[in-house]
């Protein structure tokens, strides 16, 4: 914006984008918020219930379980991939492996494949007569049909998908670190571990922030993997997640208000989590 130009003109420039954004994002969001204040089956007239749907979310078992499962998935979709990605990126950077582009591509590949395809493929791997049981010598084990393993199985797939993203981000980040820093720390006689702690980790803070933000949001909005791999929310509802519950309540259960309240809750949660992550990881560095 040129100096002296009235500031209000600026709004004209963003108006088209704001209009589209408002129409397709803000309005539906606010409308969901509005619906969440009703007890509505999606057909007959709804009844105003105020914050009852939210109170119910906080006390109801099914909703609590869904959010609990989402927390477990954050571990698998976010924390594990970031840790593994850090290790992989460091190793790939240090050892100068031949065919680095191949490994980078291979590890990134899951990101490119549609989640539905990923789900179907892994469903076959986890099947009672699938590859996993053949490898482990446990024929007939129902990984996806067992309350104690179904969520973990979904989580493992999440780790498999997200690790490549984290690694590629970190490889890029490490590439930006000036060689001087590595030379300096090596002159001090540091081994790989200290080099990782004192050079790589601090330099990668912004990338870690980005990786965490992307993967945590992916974890919180997980739907396709759960819906495809463990139909009906898994055995005994052991893999229900908020996104699945929203779908189930709105389109099958006739509880549109409750579904909207859940949607609003998960949106706020995603906002809060990303806010905290950007504060801790990205804050003060740019």
């Amino acid at each position: 914006m040129a100096a002296g130009e009235p500031r209000r003109v600026g709004y004209l420039y963003v108006l088209p984008a704001l209009a589209v954004y408002g129409l397709f994002l803000l309005f539906p969001l606010l409308h969901s918020g509005w619906l969440s204040l009703f007890d509505w089956d999606g057909l007959s007239p709804g009844t105003w219930t105020g914050l009852d749907n939210y109170v119910e979310l906080a006390t109801e078992e099914g909703a609590a379980a869904a959010f609990g499962h989402a927390a477990v998935l954050v571990l698998f979709f976010s924390v594990l991939p970031v840790c593994i990605g850090l290790v992989l990126a460091t190793v790939l950077h240090r050892t100068r492996v031949r065919g680095l582009p191949f490994f980078r591509t291979a590890l990134f590949l899951p990101q490119v494949v549609a989640m539905v395809v990923v789900a179907v493929a892994w469903q076959r791997i986890f099947a009672p007569d699938g590859v996993l049981n053949a490898l482990l010598g446990t024929p007939g084990r129902a990984w996806l049909g067992d309350e104690s393993t179904a969520l973990l199985a979904v989580g493992v797939v999440g780790t498999w998908v997200q690790t490549g993203l984290a690694m590629v981000l970190f490889l890029g980040g490490i590439g930006k670190i000036t060689g001087d820093l590595f030379d300096a720390v090596r002159m001090d006689g540091a081994g790989p571990v200290r080099e990782f702690r004192t050079v790589i980790l601090p330099s990668l803070r912004p990338e870690i922030g980005v990786a965490l933000t992307l993967t945590v949001i992916a974890a919180l909005r997980t739907f396709d993997l759960v819906y495809m791999m463990t139909p009906q929310g898994g055995p005994g509802g052991s893999t229900t997640v908020p996104a699945y519950e929203i779908y189930q309540r709105a389109f099958h259960g006739g509880q549109v208000g409750s579904a909207a309240a859940m949607g609003v809750a998960i949106t706020l949660l995603a906002f809060a989590v990303t806010f905290v992550i950007t504060r801790i990881a990205g804050g003060g560095r740019r």
């Binding site: 606010l30 099947a127 007569d129 084990r141 129902a142 049909g145 009906q232 005994g236 259960g253």
Partner: protein, 446 residues
């Protein structure tokens, strides 16, 4: 950076204002469509002028697609003044969209609507479907369809009691859940197709002893579990009690000795190793494909698999009614008329056409199980066994509706509870308790 917060607040404030301006109770008001007596109904299609009917159906699998295409062509030839605008979706896609479709401004004239309380019941309650009693009288659907079939598409205005009140849809096809068996394997075992429960027990034991898989089962989607449990209920319960439970009648109760025995029966089958190892993680589609490949002596599933299993196994597959009186079954999705249709008379004429005796013949020829006149169709092999079973069952009190009609959540509750019973997460009493709790909750009203 700092200014972001006031801006966000301002946007939120404006948004709230918009929301407040457009605010109205979701769902709006619903006017119940009037009941039209038979005398007011127009049945002379040629005199209706130029009309376009929009039809949402789920006749997308091979045989279904064939039958509806042929019938639509015949309809167009007979009544050139009526244009058909067919919108075909898979069962799941139709179920997920039909609610929005019927309540929207551009509602289809005709839609296939699932019989259950969360679908047809909810639509009736919201006044979205036209009651068909006037048409039924005018077109004599009351004599064409037996009462046992009509009641599966009947609801009172409240939409809460399937089987009572007015007629809201006409089905084209019938469905049964029975026992498929591998004829070759049974012959190898030296066992005749079982017609009594002791014979069935003996066949299972003999199959197991011979190193065969007795019952092929895949319950990852939880849909096969209720079929298995249904067969166990047929063994220990009575048709009247089973029907009362399936319809959620006031006198129905889950914790009974018969149902306890049925639950125990399922656990016995599982405990004796009669079921596919790891069935909880096996997809239903994979399980019947395995059965078709020769893994398993018996397979419990619906008659909708008849074309697929015939194609895969030829003459080596047979169909048995569970021994005894009861068999689970029902109708294919009934065709209903939207209360927003501008031409309900033309829509009713279409319903009459696709359910006529001639249409039933087309259904039989295209490997579908026609809901009426199944016994008169020229078929052979597995199809004949299935058609005969339906013909006998549909006119008898032994035809028990699916368990998921009882309450708005019955499908999720029953399929989930059976899965947990089989996995040991619920014992017999808790299992029946969970089913009873859902029944009680739906009676109390939500």
């Amino acid at each position: 950076m700092k200014r972001r917060y006031p801006t966000a607040l301002r946007v939120a404030a404006i948004g709230t204002a918009i929301a407040a301006l457009t605010a109205c109770t979701p769902g709006g008001s619903s006017d119940r469509p009037a009941d039209r007596p038979a005398g007011e109904v127009r049945t002379d299609v040629a005199a209706m002028g130029e009309v376009t009917l929009t039809i949402w159906d789920q006749e997308t699998r091979a045989g279904q697609e064939q039958q509806i295409t042929r019938l639509n062509e015949q309809f167009q030839r007979t009544y050139p003044n009526i244009k058909l605008n067919r919108v075909a979706r898979s069962f799941d896609d139709l179920r997920n969209t039909v609610k929005l479709g019927l309540s929207g401004n551009e509602a289809p004239d005709i839609a296939q609507v699932n019989n259950g309380k969360q679908d047809m019941g909810a639509f009736v309650k919201a006044g979205l479907l036209v009651p068909l009693d006037g048409y039924a009288q005018a077109y004599q659907w009351t004599t064409r369809y037996p009462e046992s079939v009509r009641r599966l598409a009947s609801y009172p205005d409240g939409g809460d009691a399937l089987g009572e009140g007015k007629l809201y849809g006409l089905p084209q096809t019938g469905e049964l859940v029975g026992v498929y068996y591998n004829k070759t394997k049974l012959a190898e075992l030296g066992v005749a197709p079982p017609t009594t429960w002791p014979e069935f027990d003996a066949a299972l034991a003999k199959a197991k002893a011979a190193g065969q898989l007795p019952i092929q089962l895949g319950n990852l989607e939880k849909s096969a579990g209720p079929y298995l449990f249904g067969v166990a209920m047929h063994r220990h319960s009575q048709p009247a009690a089973e029907t009362a439970l399936a319809l959620g009648k006031p006198e129905a109760s889950w914790p009974t000795d018969a149902n306890r025995a049925a639950a125990k029966q399922v656990l016995d089958w599982s405990g004796q190793g009669y079921l596919t190892p790891g069935f909880a993680g096996l997809k239903n589609d994979d399980s019947w494909a395995n059965f078709a490949k020769g893994e398993g002596v018996f397979h419990i599933n619906g008659t909708w698999l008849t074309p697929d299993l015939t194609a895969a196994m030829g003459d080596s597959v047979g169909f048995l009614r569970p021994p005894g009186e009861s068999i689970t079954g029902g109708t294919g999705l009934p065709w209903a008329i939207s209360s927003k249709s501008k031409n309900p008379d033309a829509a009713a004429a279409y319903l009459n056409f696709i359910t006529s005796p001639e249409a039933m013949k087309v259904l039989g020829e295209t490997a579908n199980l026609p809901v009426l006149d199944a016994g008169q169709q020229q078929v052979a092999g597995l199809q004949k066994e299935v058609f005969d079973a339906w013909q006998a069952a549909s006119a008898s009190p032994g035809l028990v509706p699916y368990l998921d009609y009882a309450t708005p959540n019955a499908y999720e509750v029953v399929s989930g509870a059976v899965e947990q019973l089989l996995s040991g997460a619920l014992d017999t009493e808790k299992f029946l308790g969970a089913l009873q709790a859902d029944l009680d909750a739906s009676r109390g009203g939500r």
